[in-house]
């Protein structure tokens, strides 16, 4: 891997970086799993780690560094599920590069939107669930959220919260048993 590219290819690659999306930068399929993303990061890092290319001249070292930075950037966005979702959305509209802060901000926006719910019924029941939570009634919150989720099966926030609530309820049951 470390001898993948000839010096001229390195320069060429550095020049076209902006035309590659993050998956292309890491040489992976857009459907790659999280483990594959990490593996690809390690593999790419071997090939383009500035340490491994100290023998090159300045121009090539700089090109390598530029590539290495982009590899890290791609990894930093793709390794995080939320950021990756945000990136995938942007990529769908032709965006190839998304700064970490931007991906983060978009992910947060999505999270907020999901928290509220996207359908009238989803919003209604998730609002009820939040009220239940405020009162400390976990079981009622769970029921309402499960109802909300039937209207929005793709809402990952609902899913995660439901899971979380179930665990909390289970834990409190165990505690009561112990007493």
């Amino acid at each position: 891997m470390s001898d993948v590219l000839a010096p001229t290819e390195i320069l060429a690659l550095a020049n076209i970086l902006d035309e590659l999306d993050y998956y292309q930068v890491l040489h992976i399929d857009p459907g790659a799993s999280a483990a594959q993303v990490r593996q690809a990061f390690h593999a790419s890092s071997r090939a383009f780690h500035p340490d491994a290319n100290r023998h090159l001249d300045r121009e090539h070292r700089e090109a390598i560094t530029k590539i290495a930075r982009r590899i890290t950037e791609a990894y930093t966005v793709l390794r995080d599920a939320k950021r990756r979702r945000a990136y995938d959305e942007g990529r769908g509209t032709g965006q190839r590069r998304m700064q970490i802060a931007e991906a983060e901000a978009r992910a947060e926006q999505t999270a907020t939107a999901e928290l509220e719910g996207a359908t009238p019924n989803g919003r209604r029941y998730s609002a009820l669930a939040r009220q239940d939570l405020a009162r400390g009634d976990l079981a009622a919150a769970l029921r309402n959220l499960q109802t909300a989720a039937t209207f929005e099966p793709g809402n990952s926030h609902f899913k995660a919260t439901i899971q979380d609530l179930k665990e909390q309820i289970e834990a409190s049951r165990r505690r009561q048993k112990a007493i």
Binding site: L5, I16, D18, H27, R69, E102
Partner: protein, 772 residues
Amino acid sequence: MADVAIGIDLGTSNSCVAIAQDRSVEVIPNAYGEATSASVVAFREDGTITVGNAAKANIIHDPVHTVYSSKRLIGRYFFSEEVKKARAICSYRIVEGPNHSVRIQIRDDQYSLPEISALVLKEMKAVAEAHLGQPVTKAVVTVPAYFNDNQRQATKDAARVAGLEVLRILNEPTAAALAYGFGQGLTQKVAIYDLGGGTFDISVLEIGTDVFEVLSTCGDTFLGGDDFDDRLIDLLADEFSAAHGVNLRKDPFAFEKLKVAAESAKKNLSVDDEVEIRIPGIVEHDGTSLSVERRIAQDEFAGLVMDLVMRTFKVCDEALQQANLTVRDLDGVILVGGPTRLPLIRKAVGDYFQQPPKTNIDPDEVVAKGAAIHAASLTAPEQQAYLLDVTPLSLRIGVAGGLAETVIERNTPVPIEQTRTFTTFQDFQERVKIRVYQGEARQSEENEMLGQFEFAGFRKARRGEVEIDVTFAIDSDGLVRVTACDRATGQQASTEITLSSGLSEEEIEDILEKGDTDRVQTASADDLIAGEAETALDTPPEMEIQPAPEMEIETPSVPGVDPEPPVAADVRVELSAGADVRVEPSAAADVRVEPSAAPDVPVEPPAAPEVNIAPPPAPEVHVEPPAAPQPVPPPSREATPSVAPQPSSNVAADAPAARPRPPTTPRPAAGPAAPRLESLDEMVEIDDLDILQNLDEGDDAGSDELELMEGVETPPAELRGAALDLEEPEGSPDDPVPLDAHGGVDEANVKARDAYLGDAGGDLSSYRDDEE
């Protein structure tokens, strides 16, 4: 003679040097057969300087002229908390140097911290040279992972003053992981719990065959074994004062004796269940000689320090959370640093991580060994291990309202480059000032100031219309470069900030030229942290405007762990028993360093500032030095003049001259909106950059910002407009041209892309195969 490179663990209390040769790694013992040497420098009456364990013994006799724990002070401002604390407890004199730097007053001379550390490093270098019988000029030097950029830069400067070319500043925990996992063919997730003399670091790593990826690192630079000693000292001093009415803290000699006793009691508690502290005749009072006598058992000691230990676990929580792991995901816990020998720590760590820590690793030597492995790897023809480290602290930029906006989050892998877009705050503004901070606080002054520079010469337009991309790049060698670029004109400026350490480039060169590395003159030492401190104090902008300078901050991108140096005493016994007691006549063996002695080893010419100084025609447009309103710069600031005017090749690489437009990174859209930079004239009253609120923060953030800018009416709507058109590419003429359109795509590039993407055969496809 083959070129060799050593690894040096420069610890708060003790330092250790190691070398990796012929597939084995060994710690190099000093002339007395000790694996570690105290990081202590004694300045004797006759002008000689002693470094190491002999110097440590001197503390009791001459506490005022013996410098210890200087690592706690390096790279810090005089007004910092840590320095205040040190002034209260240290027996040597800590004074303020120019520009808020820290100096040590020894008789009539003042020493900067890098100079003190250089003496220790030089000693370690000499130890290695004596052992190897050849000059050593290259080294990997470790620092705590949580060291900020100023501290790293200062450490690097110290090494240069000591005549060493620093191959890499390596984080101590990363070094430890390397020593643990190198060549073992492991695939593990490990935590490195590194409690040193003055710092605590925790790093979580994933170790693969040849890749060491740091998943997160967190730390506390105010917590270490010294604090454990302090607890014991407090106990003894308080009891003594209650019993005899005498405050031992007021008597430097008595206090040092107390310290020595406390430290050795702590060390003995690593082995024994109970120790007795006895200091006969510690002080004379009313004609009677008073003594300290006290027994202390493990449990009582544990009670004294348990809160400190708990504090380390808070940091561990944070690190695990940042790595997105729980203790159950870890395959191992590695202890680094002398204090981790304490049974109470081992037990607490075992409880916290739900697994016993690895005990087959010497916590005092593991960091130096890791550094040596990396040094060998960096000088070998074939790379053997790849370190993928993270930046331990967030990099920020100062914006309006005294706030600091994050550009690169902590625990982001390096090398990396990120850009945020800012805008001007005044109509037809000519200059903006860019201040760079490091830290986790929203308020800029609570962060560490790394440096600042001004950017001018961009298009003059109404406020909010100019878009300035500020790009931070951190490379794996730990350098941070900050570049500002006007999108519309491609006007670009970048600058190197090298003042953090307190020694300017010229000063270092001066020292090296004089060859007088032992007794470095005060003159050379002036302002450590010069300019920065000023900013931190919120004084008017001071930096000179440099045409097309390139800004480079050394950062901590590197790995590190702070292994606490070992308890010299214990080690001594083991080692001296060995066959290894060499009595070498060499300079190294002689712990005493004659002040005038020229460096015994050819000193490498001052390694030129690693980056820049490249000749390539930089694309930058010449920036008019705006008549700086403030008369300028402390000498050290304008430092690097040698470098400044040079168009940097780095910049050139990033923005080839040919390019009609600045590198158009897709604009940070939704989230990070464009903050605005304010004009110089305003800076005194208002702070620098104004951030256009993030979309997701809504109007509130924006109006907050506005409130802070009294007297300047900027309708929120306008701000929002500017932020919004981030999403409407057709918006203003200033908008970045979409990538495809910007002219960078020619046939060759298309071909290159296709080739890279693997449609071609040959090497490239093999690359792909590996991937899949």
